[in-house]
Amino acid sequence: MTRFILNGTPRHCDSPPTRRLSDVLREDLGLTGTKVGCDAGDCGACTVLIDGRATCACLTPAARAEGRHIQTVEAQTPELTRLRAAFLRHGAAQCGICTPGMLMAAAELIARNPAPTEAEAEAAIGGVLCRCTGYRKILAAICDATDAPAPSLPQGRATGQPIPRLDGAEKVAGDLFGADVLPENACVLKAIRSPHPHAAFTFGDLAAYAARPGIAAVFTAADIPGRNAFGVIPPFADQPALAESPARFRGEAVALVAFAPGHDPATDDFPITWQPLPALTDPDAALQAAHPLHPGRPDNILVQGLVRKGDSATAMDRAAHVVSAEITTAFVEHAYIEPEAGAAWLEGETLCIRACTQAPVMDRDETAAILALPPDRIRILPSAVGGGFGSKLDLSLQPLLGLAALRLRRPVRMVYSRAESMASTTKRHPARMRGRIGCDAQGIVTALEFDGTFDTGAYASWGPTVANRVPVHVTGPYHTPHVTAIARAVHTHNPVSGAFRGFGVPQAAIWQETAYDRLADRLGLDRLEFRLRNALRDGQSSATGQVLQATGIAPCLTALRPHWRRALAEASGQPGRGVGLASCWYGCGNTSLPNPSTIRIGITARGELVLHQGATDIGQGSNTVIAQIAADALGLPVGQIRLIGPDTALTPDAGKTSASRQTFVTGRAALAAGAELRAAILRRANASDAARLSLDGPLLAVTEGATRHEIALAGLPPDDMGYVLMAEASYDPPTAPLDENGQGRPYALYGYGAQMVELSVDPALGTVRLHRITAAHDLGLAINPLLATGQIEGGIAQGIGLALMEEYLPGRTENLHDYLIPTAGDVPPITSLLIEVPDPEGPFGAKGLGEHVLIPTAPAILNAIRHATGAEITQLPALPHRILAAMRAARP
């Protein structure tokens, strides 16, 4: 028996003495505010205070709690109260999974030092990883931890206001993620996974294994009742929920064991024999291989995307200057702090699956197909999502949870270990890119040729999207009359490459933007002016022949110009100092495919204003932004809105949180639903659109000039959802298919941006110190500037990782100490310039932003390194030894 004081109250536990304290807190004492991201001390999400000292609960034996004061995020202390308020004010929590650890680490600091400097705050949270925020707002919050309340919500217009996130209170209290709701008496599921990239396997005596005490059941591919092939793009669905022999990548699930509650879920002696087979791990070799991984995909080519416009060969011949460029990038892991987790149970005949996801309706439909159920028998209840960045678009544990709950007819739960999450889920495609860009003597770009091979791994996932998006975007936001661009997604026995913030466009931008710097140097032109000269303007057409409107790139570059001149002046004559610049553009929504969203708003007889918001908020802020848009469209204060969802039983389909589409597409649906409801109300009052609405309990008032019309809500008949007034509206962006040359209108609108990086390179060590990043992003209208700058800072942090440190190597970096992501000390101060070039297609003119923000960072860093040292990096990440070697190579 261990006795201790937990958050001021005497508690005890009776668990094994060396059990991790994090487990005891979460499982035995029900305090799930303490999060687990790695069980290895690497992420700090589990930070608690033991006698006032920040400690990783995952590394602390339960017995060590004896006689100690333990504080978790559930505590109510003056330090935590101040920190929570500051985190909300500053927008320091996005997905919220790191927030408890951040709060506790900061609480230790401000108890000793109530007014810390930024450097002190940085050291205090150096051991807590955040993948969403880029840390800047967290540091600002810790240095401003006063009781000042969050600003109150606006009574009038909500869009354009920097209001704190509407789901913020949950985030700073310790939100409920996939692993945090534990149904009573649930079996624990563990997957058996391939230790080899390619291996045949045979099972031993599964029946005997399943009969062991503590084991409730064992499932294999033979138990899958429906179609054992899923995939986000239905025609390419090829990935089994549980593989039949052979396994096609390291980490692929081949069997599932359900453990009865209270039994150690150890699978070490699971009866399986592996026979490793030759593995194709190099995409160039895979292109030559005699036998493709999947029948019907000769040469292992999943999809080859092509954009051809004009005559690039002739234009290149005539160009005054041509640069050739070649660069390769690595597998990049999403490294969200929440490993996949969830639970499933039956409610009557409905299978309920509560798990982290970015795409609830896709989860429902794909799981239904695997389990041979009609979709309406599955209800997906997304948990709070501890980061997604694209990887939680694909199914992971949903079919496994569903299968076991259905077969056992009892609740089940599953939490991936960090290693399992990293090995089995999707990655950013490694790219091998080469080609040429040519321009005339005046520095006007005339031609671009690009050829990229993208390692798409064992299964299709989003490979087709990457292969199609890259050629469309590879020109960057620059007018390029003659283009030939090819991107092929190639199967290997590597991890499945899928969606990761930008769908291949960040890789392509690295190639194009670094080549642009060399072209500008050839011309002797300022690198910013060269870009401005070529920036896409309204009425010009893109590589796909789409005539563009609301092009924001020139305004972004122009906004950077004074910063650029200042930075160049400061760097000049300073050895090792460099300044770099890169741009981005990105089409919002699916490429040439329908992707509608639907939003419902209702008012109950009691005067509750309810927004059914089905867009999963993975930290990016849909819960807040969609509510802001709906509120303004309707004309009621955003603070009156109560949010429901997402939940496939309660919210209409708002599509997936990907492709920077939610603010735009779901925003347009919210705009339409709000406007429709407003129109219905105005009709009742016979008022014009100039009227003002106010909702006060069961009284809805419509005021126009001196006339006031009151609608008694209680007197209206409720519909079957309980609403007396209700509107539901959909929006699907207008696009047109691409023809065989990739010509067409793939996206309804585009967002633009440009970033500038100031850094120093250590001349002897090749290490990089980032000084400042200035980011100008055109988002049409900043619906919420606080959330928008949060997206910018978080995207930049991921771009820093992509450029300087991240490289996933299967079997070697399946943890967060060998796989490095930026820490609080790696992200410099960031200045965001929000540029607003409204697009008539966007809600109130707004465009998407979520993916754009990551694209320019890596090439801007590489350009600054080259400016500082001459080093041309051809292989990412730019680790110190690679930079030093490139510096040597650059010296005459």
Binding site: P16, P17, T18, R19, R20, D23, D39, A40, G41, D42, G44, T47, I50, R53, A54, T55, C56, C58, L59, T60, P61, A63, R64, A105, E108, A123, A124, I125, G126, G127, V128, L129, D264, A266, S417, A419, A764, L765, G766, T767, L804, M805, E807, L809, R812, T813, H817, D818, L820, I821, P822, T823, A824, G825, D826, L879, P880, H881, L884, A885
Partner: protein, 277 residues
């Protein structure tokens, strides 16, 4: 699975004798090595043994108890000769790791990248062990016999690290190189300690390098040549060639061997300049 948390060293040694019991200090190496919810097998927790914890005067020098945490070391008022150790203490993981992880655990875990080792090597530290046959102490370099291997017998406990009196002289510096700011496994790290004569020239130099071979290495052959030089001259004399041998770095996912040698030389040059009081 048994768990013991004795109050005295005598009791701990008795429990350890002839058993398969594993020693637990801060747990920051033990827990990450398992995926289970608890440590497996019998565990002997050293946390309550008072004599293993804390920094005390010893024979004119210092005794650092084996279970002294990195934060305690960082926060203690120590002479400038131990500045390298304190700088290392602030770079072992993040603050949570420093609050739990111990100096004894760092040495016993014997990772080639253990940050505690180079600063202790330049202090000529000795490791004290206690077992059923009594106590013995040996130089740190003799204690570390290879990657993840030490001279500790299975029935012995590391009780303390001794810093001899003559090692408290001079100034020291620790520098660590990695690909990110916090929570980073060293690509290379170095420690230097210099005692300067009245004219500012080096009277005695001690240099050590970690993460560039199976164990961290004291550069004993190189040190005498630095006597009589200014720190700046000494720094100039360090080149990658002068380090190979004794260093034998390898290529791995973090860096190439050649880069490790070069960066070790550069870090040593900087550490020498940083030692000047």
């Amino acid at each position: 699975m048994s768990y013991a948390r004795p109050q005295t060293l005598t009791e701990a040694i008795r429990l350890l004798a002839g058993s398969q019991i594993r020693l637990l200090a801060g747990g920051t190496d033990l827990y990450p090595a398992t995926q289970s919810a608890a440590l497996s097998g019998p565990i002997l927790d050293l946390a309550d043994i008072a004599e293993l914890n804390g920094i005390t005067p010893w024979n004119g020098g210092l005794r650092i108890g084996a279970t002294t945490s990195w934060s305690t070391i960082a926060e203690a008022p120590l002479p400038p000769a131990l500045r390298a150790l304190q700088q290392a203490a602030l770079q072992v993981g993040g603050r949570q790791i420093q609050n739990a992880g111990t100096i004894g655990g760092n040495l016993c875990n014997a990772s080639p990248a253990a940050d505690g080792v180079p600063p202790l090597l330049v202090l000529d530290a000795r490791v004290e062990l206690a077992g059923p046959l009594g106590r013995r102490d040996l130089p740190l370099a003799a204690f570390l016999t290879g990657p993840r291997r030490t001279a500790r017998a299975p029935d012995e406990i590391v009780t303390a690290i001794f810093i001899p009196e003559q090692s408290l002289a001079g100034h020291s510096s620790f520098l660590k190189l990695g690909a990110r700011a916090y929570l980073v496994i060293s690509i290379a790290m170095v420690a230097a300690r210099l005692t300067l004569a009245a004219d500012g020239r080096i009277a005695r130099a001690a240099l050590a390098v970690g993460a560039c071979g199976p164990v961290a290495t004291r550069l004993a052959a190189l040190e005498p040549a630095l006597t009589g030089l200014t720190p700046a001259q000494a720094a100039q004399s360090i080149t990658p060639e002068t380090l190979s041998p004794p260093l034998a770095p390898i290529d791995d996912i973090r860096a190439t061997a050649a880069y490790r040698l070069e960066s070790a030389a550069e870090l040593l040059r900087r550490a020498l300049l940083d030692c000047a009081p």
